[in-house]
Every structure is written in C-alpha cells, then in structure tokens.
C-alpha cells in the first residue's frame, strides 16, 4: 500500500504537475515537494509526489517497479 513509483516532472502548473512514469503521462499533485522543478525526478504515491530523487536512482528503481506492477496485474 505504501508503493511509490518514480516519475519525471515535465510541466508544472501551480500545485499540480505533469509527470511521466513508465511511458505514461499523468497529472500529479506536487504540494508536498515545494522545491520541485521541471526535469526533476520524484517518487509518486497515490497521485502525490512525496520526495525528489536523483535521475540515476529513478531509472534503476523504475525497472524494478515495472516488473513488480506487471506481475501484480496478471
């Protein structure tokens, strides 16, 4: 339940942002990460960015979650 998936911020609009994760674009809430900028990577939990992370880390984590979520769906 505490799953959090990495995503890249591609557009910011006040308290929301467009984020891209695993090839899917999604609007997320960024009010919990006030320092976030376009191009940053964040981890998303239930529609909210909860922490800013480094790009390399985002990429490595992303692969793991992709596999995990694919399996969960089957």
């Amino acid at each position: 339940m505490c799953l959090a998936i990495p995503a890249k911020i591609i557009k910011i609009n006040k308290r929301t942002a467009m984020a891209e994760t695993l090839g899917v674009k999604k609007e997320i809430d960024i009010s919990l990460v006030p320092a976030v900028r376009i191009g940053d990577f964040v981890i998303i939990h239930a529609g909210f960015a909860i922490q800013i992370i480094e790009k390399e880390d985002a990429v490595s984590i992303q692969n793991y979650w992709k596999e995990y979520l694919d399996e969960k769906q089957h």
Partner: protein, 360 residues
C-alpha cells in the same frame, strides 16, 4: 554500485554470529519481496526473518470496518477508499459485499478523487476512509487542509491512520518475541526520515536499517544489520539512500502536525498503542466522520480461528495458522492478512506455499 545477490548471500553465510537472530520487517512491500524472491531460502537458517505489522489494511481492526459499514447503512453517504480496503472482513460483512448490494462505496486511486467528487457534488456527503502509515498520511493532510481552505462542507474523513515508530516500541518491549533488529520501511521513511527510529537503537539497543525493495537492497540491509550486531553498535542506518534522507520530507511532516495531533490507536492483533494514531486538531474536527455520523457502539469480533494477531506480531508464521490455504485463501480470505496483496498470509500463500522446506 550495488553488490550482487551471490556476493551478498555469501557475505551473510560467512558472517557467523553463532546464534539465531530475529529480524522483523515492518513493511508489506518488504514482506512481498522477501517471499517473491525466495530470500528466506537464500540466507542462513540462523537469520529468522519475521513479518511485522507492516500492512496498513491488515492492522485495521474489525471494529473500524464495522463502524464504517454502520455509517454507510445509517446515513446517505458516498464512501471512497483504496481498493485493498474493500475486502477486509468486518465482523459480519465487508465493504465489498455492501458495495455489491448497491451501497455508494467507491475505490479511489488518490485521496484527491474523493475531494474532487465532494466539490463536484455538493448535495452528497462524501467520506474518505483514510488508511495508511506515514507514507499516506500527508496526502490526507493535504486534502483536509484544502477542504478547509475551500470551505467544502460536505467532505469528511474516517481516519484510521497509524504511526510506525510507536508500534515498533511496543514490539521492542514484547517479551514473547525477541526482536534483534528491524528492517525499517522505505517509503514511510521517505517521509519521516531516520530520526524517529533513534530511540530503538539508543534505548532498546536494537539495530535498524531502512531498506529498499529490490532483493539486493534487502540482502544488503541484512548484511548491514549483522555488522551492527557483531560490532554491538546499534544504530539507525539508511540503505535506501536512493529515496530516503535523514531528515525525510520535512514539509510533509510539518503538514501532518498542522492538521493532526497524536492520539492512541487500536491495531489489529496489537491492541491499543499509545500515541500511534492521529486525531484531527480541534480546528478541523468538522471533517471528522466519526463525530459527524455517530453510530451506536457495535459488538465487533475478529474472525474465528484467524491468527492474524499473532502473525502481525511475528509470533506465528502464516502457515502455522490452521486455516491457511484451507478455508483461508486469497479468493476467500478469512482474515485481513490474506486480503491485501502485501499481507503476510497472502505473500506466503502466493510464493512460499509450495516450497519443499515449508510444511503446510
């Protein structure tokens, strides 16, 4: 550079402590990963990995399910919650069964969905069944604050949020299960950081490592724990540096305590734990569904024969429950630990049931 699984298992096997140690993971996603990758079978038998109360759905007591079911029975409300919550058994029914009977019970992906619905449907009374640990609590705090600022007066929360460090203190004091170390949750710690666990190392001399979710992360965390045990230097270490900072996410923590005060909370299996829950501050009490929709005290009981209480405390392993894989299966769960995909019983059922060295 992360070490490989082979290197890490070798390092664990070579690190002979000469005694059995109990390491408790307190995160449903860790429980899942340990079962899924067969890590229990990779590490020496002297390292006993036990699952703790790390799944929010599993630790929600039957009485909370009964209360919310009663609210949806007595009042015209629209209820929103996360999917896992629906199948958790109350004393006589579940949200899932009542939804099938036509009650206005909805699954949401984000708490924002519930608030949006309330905003768009001012004639409906909307309740968000707020569940989760520190990872999720700031999200609820955001929507309550937003509802307050926007003066949305048809929105409420039924709050079952719980705090992890307080539960760990109870477990650290437990005489029945001697915990030698904690594998601390990654995403809870992304919010609270490492400081809130400090008392475990200082006062209880219990090593703690905040771990990531990949098999290498978990094995690496175990290596770090063994090192601490060997050197007798209990501390709070962060293995999951990719996401967790010492200070956590201070904005999120600040917001939690702008909206809530700490309170006691009842955990399935663990009972009432002082300071392990949250209560809306007086200023926001108008959003409290328990106050706005009072119902009579109901007689609640945990499912007969279900050992979830002992499973959540780490006293029993899921396959030591008489109902495991017999009457209790993921498609017909008796207790909550079989409901959530991150519950210990569901994880053991899915991945470890057929392993030769585990008797069922």
């Amino acid at each position: 550079m992360k070490s490989s699984i082979e290197e890490l298992t070798l390092s664990l096997t070579g690190n002979k402590l000469g005694r059995r140690i109990n390491i408790m993971e307190v995160c449903g996603t860790h429980t899942m990963a340990i079962s899924r990758y067969g890590l229990r079978q990779l590490i020496p038998e002297t390292i006993n990995l036990i699952s703790g109360p790390g799944c929010p759905v599993c630790v929600t007591p039957a009485v909370d399910i009964d209360l919310i079911l009663e609210i949806t029975k007595q009042y015209e409300v629209s209820l929103f919650t996360f999917g896992d919550m629906l199948r958790v058994p109350g004393t006589e029914s579940s949200l899932y069964l009542k939804k099938a009977e036509g009650r206005d019970i909805n699954i949401c992906y984000s708490p924002l969905d519930a608030l949006d619905y309330a905003r768009e449907n001012p004639d409906r009374k909307v309740i968000f069944l707020a569940i989760g640990f520190e990872t999720t609590i700031p999200l609820t705090a955001v929507i309550v604050k937003r509802a307050y600022l926007e003066k949305i007066n048809n929105f409420y929360i039924f709050n079952t949020h719980k705090l992890i460090p307080e539960a760990l203190e109870l477990l650290a004091n437990d005489k029945e299960i001697k915990i030698n170390a904690f594998l601390c949750p990654g995403h809870v710690s992304a919010i609270i950081g490492s400081e809130p666990y400090r008392f475990l190392a200082d006062r209880y001399k219990i090593p703690c490592v905040i771990s990531g979710f990949e098999p290498e992360d978990i094995l690496q965390s175990l290596v770090m724990i063994l090192e601490q045990i060997k050197k007798e230097t209990p501390e709070i270490e962060i293995q999951y540096k990719r996401v967790v900072r010492e200070e956590g996410n201070p904005s999120a923590v600040k917001l939690i305590y702008e909206i809530f005060d700490k309170s006691d909370s009842t955990w399935r299996g663990l009972g009432s734990i002082p300071g392990s829950g949250l209560k809306l501050k007086e200023k926001f009490s108008g959003f409290d569904a328990r106050i706005r929709f009072p119902v009579k005290k109901i007689k609640s009981a945990e499912p007969a024969g279900c050992e979830c209480g002992n499973v959540l405390k780490g006293i029993k392993k899921p396959f030591e429950c008489r109902l495991f894989s017999k009457t209790c299966r993921p498609e017909s769960p008796v207790g909550p630990c079989m409901v959530s995909s991150e519950g210990s019983c569901a994880a053991y059922y899915k991945y470890e049931r057929e392993l030769k060295n585990i008797k069922i």
